[in-house]
Amino acid sequence: MAVVQKDDIKIWQRRERGKQFAIWAGYLTVTALFVYCFQLISEKTVWFFVLDAPRQAMDMASRMVPVKWSYMDVLWVAIWDTLNIATLGTVMAVILAIPTAYCAARNTTPSLYFVRPVALFIIVASRSINSLIWALILVAIVGPGVFAGVIAIGLRSIGFCAKLLYEAIEEIDENQVEAVTATGASNAQVTAYGIVPQVLPAFAGISVFRWDINIRESTVLGLVGAGGIGLQLNASITNLAWTQVSLILLVIIATVVVSEWVSAKIRHAII
């Protein structure tokens, strides 16, 4: 109760003094931290370049128009590759995420003390290493091209899909599982009848959601040689072909917006 009695008058405050104080202290810490960090960054910054940036930006913008629409002929293939990287990568990730999630969920894992930590480590490792870094490594191993991109996206997405999926598995209604067990069903049957129907909608939603994210991710893999539209972007920037760059940027926006819309529609239809 944040009411203080003071000479017959009840003074109402939103929060108790200690709590209010803690909140102010929190704000103060964040501000101080921000100022401190920003100062460190600015020490490493050449401010001349920064001040020059608006002029540079105007210059760059002026060189980006008119958009070179004829370049589209080359880009269609790149768009197709980008879509394939995202889709096939997602398919691969989903297939691998199912067993991983099954091993990571507390209620289905075969062994709580050995298999589960391993599965959790796979999930964290896959999630914390960006697909670009995966691509960097994979291009060195399997050579440049779409294939490296697919695997990079796949490896990056396993963690994401498996994490959401295993959380969904842990949240299922245990009563339904118990009821199926009580009929004398085998473990495989309990999974197929008690668990799968409960997590199927979540699973479909997760896959589509990740596919949408992967479209965006796969636009940059070309920068390290792993195929897709990033390849053209990189080439155009190095050749200072700014009219092509602007077209590529427009195409990326269009692709991402469309894929976002498709994914929202599909998720809506599933639920």
Partner: protein, 289 residues
């Protein structure tokens, strides 16, 4: 016949849920297990099919010691015990038919069940049961589209299609309104009679227990404090089970309310049920279909 000897369950937290239960349920007997929450009712019936592992003691189903069984043997015994749950525990995203057929999982192989290719005899039986409880037209509805009473009927079908010798019933009416509760209890008891099943019904509603069960066992803090006929439930006994309270009203009203209820819903619904009742017995169910 089910015999329980010196059954003890101690949870890992140290709670002793059951403190040496001795109980015998003869074939064809419908027994109600009453007691306050936390008395160990749920634990007791879950120990019977080992959804909860007992700590010590013996459970004998027709002289077969359930506790000594391996996992695969246990599955074979679980087929012989149908279970009905408090919150129905239907797999909500499966259809009514799939839920009923899931009662046959112990009898068919994994891939058959995975592709939903159950033997025709199972499907015939499922339709017969659904018709018996009046839900045959609902068979392709998803379970989460049904009302509470309908769901519990599906739950009953799922238990019965296992062709069990024993029904384990856990608070079948806890989430139903009073009228549906009685209908469900009546259905369970009728089906037990038709099929000569024995049943252990966990129930916290003393009234319903008295109305439908042939025998009542009172459980308190993991021990049996009453075992006898429904008529023997005097206020003293109830006080012993549940603690101090004015019990006169509860007991006296039984007869009246029962009559009232019969008058209320005993009409078309009940007659229809009677008409639908097929002349089935267990031999025919198990062998001839």
């Amino acid at each position: 016949m089910l015999r329980i000897e010196q059954l003890v369950k101690q949870y890992r937290t140290g709670d002793r849920a059951l403190k040496g239960i001795d109980l015998e349920v003869p074939d064809g007997q419908v027994m109600a297990l009453i007691g306050p929450s936390g008395a160990g009712k749920s634990t007791l019936i879950r120990c019977v099919n080992r959804l909860v592992e007992p700590t010590s003691g013996r459970i004998l189903l027709n002289d077969l010691d359930i506790r000594s069984l391996s996992q695969s043997k246990l599955r074979l015994v679980r087929r012989r015990m149908g279970m009905i749950f408090q919150e129905y525990a239907l797999v909500e995203r499966l259809t009514v038919m799939e839920n009923v057929l899931s009662g046959r999982l112990g009898y068919v192989g994994f891939w058959r069940s995975y592709f939903r290719k159950f033997p025709q005899s199972d499907i015939d039986e499922a339709f017969r049961l659904l018709e018996r409880v009046g839900l045959a037209e609902m068979c392709d509805k998803r379970a989460d589209e049904l009302s509470g009473g309908q769901r519990q009927r599906v739950g009953i079908c799922r238990a019965l299609i296992q062709n069990p010798e024993l029904l384990l019933v856990d608070e079948p009416t806890a989430s139903l309104d009073p009228k549906t509760s009685r209908q469900i209890m009546r259905l369970i008891c009728e089906l037990c009679q038709e099929r000569k099943l024995s049943a252990i019904i966990n129930i916290h509603d003393v009234l319903l227990a008295q109305m439908f069960a042939q025998r009542i066992v009172g459980l308190q803090l993991g021990e049996i404090v009453y075992d006898g006929s429904p008529n023997g439930l005097t206020p003293d006994v109830l006080t012993q089970i549940y603690g101090e309270e004015d019990w006169e009203a509860t007991i006296e009203n039984v007869e009246e309310e029962d009559l009232e209820d019969e008058a209320l819903d005993g009409g078309p619904d009940r007659e229809a049920e009677h008409k639908k009742t097929p002349e089935l017995d267990r031999d025919r169910l198990s062998g001839l279909t």
